[in-house]
């Protein structure tokens, strides 16, 4: 064995270790984040019974920051990085450049996350490094942000180097999304955490607006869509439906997305032209969403049976459908006619859950099922547990979403039309909030089962070989060969 080949094998093993260090914490995030969400939602239903939270030093608002921090940075970002560390070397047709950096990056990132959670609970007021910040989705104190930023720089560096030194001839569109996601993340994350604090007064809020939607737009969206662009042709064995649509979808996403954030602060003292720029961009955003989702749905036309037998494709298609609904609803909610009516109500939070808890969580769940057997060499043993989490995402989430929406619409009607105060409107929202908690708890439990299924597969799954299904059938993995995947497993560019 040549020296280069030995080195390549070592790098391969290090890559798998790095992926494990991103993947398992992300599953902890998937368990803890939504569970905190379910717990804190009881505040709306039974507030007198939640006073014990104050006794342990955590009230609703402190938990709320933990909830968003954990689901966005603990679950989604970590899960996507785990998947991307596998996907990018495949597309570049070379081992990951310097995989030990990815391993170190995971540890640095986890230190940042731990610091974040500890400092949220500590609630120190007015310290430049240790205080919770006001920026939604970037509440983490600056000291934690430094760790996260360093970690992101490390990951971005090795992924970029892997693509620059690729052995593949072409740079497939999936790589466009994944690389752009990391570059955009670094820029947006640095702007909100290190530059925005220097601008006082209402100008600070404009930049909060710029950031608030780019947390989703520049970080989560391209990661999820880029992953789907890789996984769908791989699993169906057919090329993506249209590259022209893919190109248009990519460039319109980056043309329209970065400017839409101010629609969260419409009618604040800000320039009207900037407000309207945000609103128009928000409506134009349906273009990339429709293009991408059409492209993905059309890609499985010739391999529709994969919708039945592949949970990877099921999750990816479910994600595409939720992503489409999110995009259409976002344009609807942001426009000047609807926004004044629903602004500040829970319908907006319901929309955020549709995007992150349904759309991109589906993408991430499907992506992890795809990479898991290929990284750990084992099939996911329990089809039942995966089926449970899938059907919960498909059937229970809409119920949860409906009650969340109902609560928001109740507030909009009672407060805007009937002129009742928030205090008077609260009893009218009680029932929808109760059912929101119940259905949301079912969702949280289904995510535990998903995490449990992957954790168990680590030791109990059958040995995986390319061509087998990622999720074993109940009768045993040997009986479910995956016939449709081409043996070479190439992507048809």
């Amino acid at each position: 064995m040549s020296e280069a080949a030995i080195q390549e094998r070592l790098d391969h093993q290090a890559t798998h270790r790095a992926i494990a260090w991103w993947l398992w914490p992300s599953l902890v995030g998937l368990i803890v984040g939504p569970t905190i969400g379910a717990l804190q939602s009881l505040q709306f239903v039974y507030p007198a019974g939640m006073e014990w939270l104050a006794k342990i030093g955590l009230s609703y608002s402190n938990l709320r920051v933990m909830h968003t921090s954990i689901v966005v940075y603990g679950w989604l970002v970590m899960a996507f990085v785990a998947a991307v560390l596998y996907v990018v070397p495949q597309l570049a047709k070379r081992p990951l450049f310097n995989p030990y950096v990815a391993l170190w990056a995971a540890w640095v990132y986890l230190v940042g996350m731990a610091l974040n959670l500890v400092l949220i609970a500590a609630r120190i007021p007015g310290h430049p490094l240790f205080s919770v910040q006001i920026y939604e989705y970037a509440e983490a104190p600056v000291i934690s942000d430094i760790f996260v930023a360093v970690s992101l720089i490390m990951v971005t560096w090795i992924l970029t180097q892997t693509v620059v030194r690729r052995r593949a001839e072409l740079v497939y569109i999936s790589l466009w999304y994944l690389l752009a996601a990391f570059w955009g993340t670094l820029f947006a994350f640095s702007v909100i955490n290190f530059l925005t604090p220097m601008i006082p007064g209402v100008g600070n809020v404009y930049l909060q607006g710029w950031w608030i939607h780019n947390a989703v737009g520049l970080i989560i969206t391209p990661l999820g869509v880029g992953l789907a662009y890789y996984v769908i042709p791989k699993v169906t064995g057919k090329p993506i439906f249209s590259h022209r649509l893919g190109m248009l979808g990519f460039w319109t996403l980056y043309a329209f997305y970065p400017g839409i954030g101010l629609h969260h602060f419409l009618q604040m003292p800000s320039p009207v032209w900037l407000n309207q720029f945000a609103v128009v961009s928000s409506v134009l955003l349906v273009i990339p969403v429709i293009l991408v989702v059409y492209n993905h749905l059309a890609s499985i036309k010739k391999a529709a049976h994969r919708l039945i037998d592949s949970y990877v494709i099921r999750f990816m298609m479910l994600g595409a459908v939720y992503y489409l609904l999110t995009g259409l609803q976002g344009a609807f909610q942001a426009n000047n006619l609807v926004n004044p009516y629903i602004h500040f109500t829970e319908w907006v939070q319901a929309h955020a859950h549709l995007a992150l808890a349904a759309g991109f969580t589906s993408y991430a769940m499907g992506g992890l099922i795809y990479i898991f057997p290929r990284v750990f060499g084992r099939q996911i043993a329990s089809r039942r547990l995966i089926a449970l989490s899938f059907w919960s995402m498909a059937a229970v989430f809409p119920i949860f979403f409906a009650f969340f929406t109902l609560s928001g619409l109740t507030a909009a009607a009672t407060i805007n039309v009937l002129g009742m105060t928030v205090y008077e409107a609260t009893p009218a929202q009680h029932l929808s909030r109760l059912f929101r908690t119940l259905s949301g708890s079912v969702l949280a439990v289904s995510w535990w089962t998903y995490a449990w299924a992957l954790w168990r597969a680590r030791t109990t799954g059958a040995t995986f070989a390319e061509g087998m299904s990622e999720v074993a059938s109940e009768r045993g993995s040997e009986e479910s060969p995956d016939r449709s995947v081409s043996k070479e497993g190439t992507i048809h560019v």
């Binding site: 007021p125 740079v171 100008g203 829970e346």
Partner: protein, 341 residues
């Protein structure tokens, strides 16, 4: 409730025509580029299947950075607005004496930092929008209270908020200028508002609670007036009257939390104001009317839901923990606040 929506475009720099030329140029350039790209791929039949990382980075970076500058330029100019009377101008170290009359004091600036550190903005906003007027969002505010850029000049990171699970707080200090009440309410929100869903903040340190209450009291009040020991709001009158019974009533008004729902200067709050209410005729929910006298007030304190004033919610808890002497003092206090003449 109050006057209908006002225009916020009265400030010149807010209007659409003020957008810089570069804004329109870049918008045009982006649209032209997208359309020509679409047309080109359609007619040439060529689809670029690959791109070098350098080109990709430059193009994506350009698109992200230009929208960022579109936000950054007005953000910088918004900080150059001149401060006015309404600007929240508390500095680190400034101390506020409780305008409600108690011996409490707190640092409003540090209170603002406590507000941020506890993510109060998860449920409360700090700005009144033009379309809030006339709806339930705008309790106790009018068209002059619509947020302006200069209001936030001295807040490093204004916690405007994106969600209202609770009321907007930008004028909470004008409605309830009383630190005793604010602290009480933070510790046990359901003591006075039984349906409130607000969490308890009993885990804040005593200093945090005092400072946070001081911050809340400053919201909507002039700094100069507060520093001179008074506001237009609650508590200002009780220094005038020397009758011991009335004084006891005024103290109970604060310590029992009446201040949370009843104003003494005529403003409408959750409950009817106490100013000029003595001896007047009051319409009752469900028909009929009563004269506001000692007998009616005593009944309303002990059994609030027996007769509900028309137009107000049945939100008041019974105060049967008060002694007869204390109830008499409260009635005397209400009597001292005038009889509607």
């Amino acid at each position: 409730m109050s006057d209908s929506a006002v225009s916020i475009t009265t400030e010149k720099w807010l209007s659409l025509g003020e957008a810089p030329l570069i804004f329109w140029l870049v918008v045009g350039a982006v649209l032209v580029a997208l359309v020509s790209f679409a047309v080109w791929t359609y007619f040439s039949g060529k689809v670029p299947r690959s791109i070098t990382p350098g080109t990709l980075g430059s193009l994506v970076g350009l698109l992200i950075v230009w929208t960022f500058f579109l936000y950054l330029v007005p953000a910088m100019s918004a900080t150059q607005v001149a401060p006015t009377d309404r600007t929240w101008s508390w500095q680190p170290g400034d101390v506020l004496q409780d305008p409600g009359g108690s011996a409490l004091e707190g640092e409003p600036y540090r209170g603002y930092q406590v507000y941020v550190a506890n993510s109060c903005a998860a449920c409360h906003t700090l700005y009144v929008r033009p379309q809030d007027l006339g709806t339930g969002w705008s309790e106790g505010t009018g068209s002059a209270d619509v947020a302006r850029a200069e209001d936030y000049l001295f807040m490093p990171e204004p916690p405007l908020g994106t969600q209202r699970n609770g009321p907007d707080l930008s004028f909470i200090g004008r409605r309830i200028a009383d630190m005793t009440y604010q602290i009480d309410h933070l510790v046990d929100p359901r003591k006075y508002k039984p349906d409130s869903i607000m969490p308890s903040y009993s885990h804040l340190s005593e200093r945090d609670r005092r400072d946070l209450a001081a911050f809340l009291v400053t919201l909507g009040n002039s700094k100069d007036q507060l520093l001179q020991g008074g506001t237009a709001g609650a508590g200002a009158l009780d220094t005038v009257d020397l009758d011991p019974q009335v004084r006891l009533g005024a103290e109970l008004y604060r310590s029992q939390g009446c201040v949370g729902c009843h104003s003494i200067d005529g403003r409408v709050n959750v409950g009817p104001t106490w100013k000029g209410t003595w001896g007047t005729e009051r319409e009752i929910e469900g028909g009929g009317s009563v004269i506001v006298d000692a007998e009616y007030l005593r009944e309303s304190i002990l059994k609030p839901n027996a007769k509900i004033a028309k137009g107000y919610p049945a939100a008041m808890p019974p105060f049967d923990r008060l002694s007869d002497e204390e109830i008499d003092a409260l009635i005397a206090y209400i009597e001292s606040l005038g009889d509607g003449e």
